[in-house]
Symmetry: C2
Subunit: 201 residues, 2 copies
DNA sequence: CCAATAAGCTACGCCTATTAGCCAAAAAGT
DNA sequence: ACTTTTTGGCTAATAGGCGTAGCTTATTGG
């Protein structure tokens, strides 16, 4: 009957539009990601998206994988050629920088993959890559093998916690937040060094 | 027509049932909190809840305030009579302990209040109390006035980040998570002490 | 005993996601 | 070039969520 021009969508295009929704929604962009919103951007009826994406959950997972990959890439790029304290500092700042520039995507990156579901394989890989960057950063500290995991967990915890609280408006005091972040990173670097000195073998 | 017995609800009762939903839902209990679920627990039709609660958003906020208050209470109780490193350690462990016992409520506690909305006053108060506990914990470190906020932010960031990642399944390696937490707390204590030593005045 | 209030209910409107089935447009095959 | 198949739109319809309106009954207070 009525001619229906093609919108030229594809899985890639849909994910891209979803990323746009996430970006425009600020910190809550990922939580507010909806098929209806994506369809509106595409100029298409909501059910049409199912030709390119299995479900909202699948689209969200795809967005998460992208976000985790980007975060891993940003920290990785920031630390090439560095080691020891310099590497940790660079990683921490790159991490926080990514979160501040892309708060919606950072929130998306916090969805953990299901360890068992085979559909989450890409997500697991991306997460593993992100952790691998952190591990690589700690080379140069001469950490005893069994302490590396403690150090990685400490760095991830501290930086992620800081960024989360900052984006969530948790730091209401007037003091400079950058300064506090530097202090935190200093603590981490000193703490890792101390961890290396302890239990010397 | 048909006799409609009273369910004996009240605002208190509704909030209590909501807390039950949150508790039973694990980490995602707060995200999955829904008026329909609460109504089902109350044995009541969903719209009936509006006689006791203004909206889902209001109910969620109420739950958040409770959770923040409980967390502040738990950390406060754990640190009475302690100071310095002992206080920080006790607070960190009480914090993590609360989150592990009440993962749903802990997630609820992460919703930040709107600084302007007068309806969020109770939420702001609860959050302020929680921060006050952390500040009190740092007495005994002789921190220069302008460094206290850095130390508070560092402690909150590190502990919150660790707990968040732990609950979210972010620590997949087989190594003991308790040990990693102890290492993190050691770093914090040492870092705060170093902060006190720096810029001596 | 009666009136006022409080606490249920059903019916509805609007927004999601998702499925089913139709139809035209593009692509592939002959 | 024509035909066939696949693809990517569509509308219609189901199910479940929040929230509003208006009715009815239980409870309470005079």
């Amino acid at each position: 009957m009525t001619p229906v021009p093609r919108a030229g969508l594809s899985r890639e295009a849909v994910v891209g539009l979803a990323l746009g929704v996430v970006d425009d929604g600020g910190t809550g962009g990922f939580a507010d990601l909806t098929l209806a919103r994506v369809a509106a951007r595409a100029g298409v009826a909501t059910p049409s998206l199912y030709k390119h994406v299995g479900s909202l959950a699948e689209l969200r997972r795809e967005v998460s994988v992208r976000a985790v990959g980007e975060l891993a890439g940003a920290t990785s790029r920031a630390t090439v050629g560095l080691s020891g304290p310099d590497a940790v500092r660079a990683m921490a700042h790159a991490w926080r920088g990514y979160a501040r520039v892309h708060p919606g995507r950072y929130a998306a990156a916090q969805t953990g993959p299901d360890p068992d579901d085979p559909a989450h394989a890409a997500h697991r890989d991306a997460a593993a890559e992100s952790v691998a960057v952190a591990v690589a950063t700690l080379r140069g500290f001469d950490l005893p093998e069994e302490c590396v995991v403690d150090a990685v967990r400490a760095v991830r915890s501290a930086v992620h916690g800081f960024v989360t609280l900052e984006l969530g408006g948790g730091f209401r005091a007037p003091q400079d937040v950058d300064r506090s972040f530097d202090a935190l990173v200093d603590m981490l670097v000193a703490g890792i060094a101390a961890l290396a000195r302890r239990e010397p073998g």
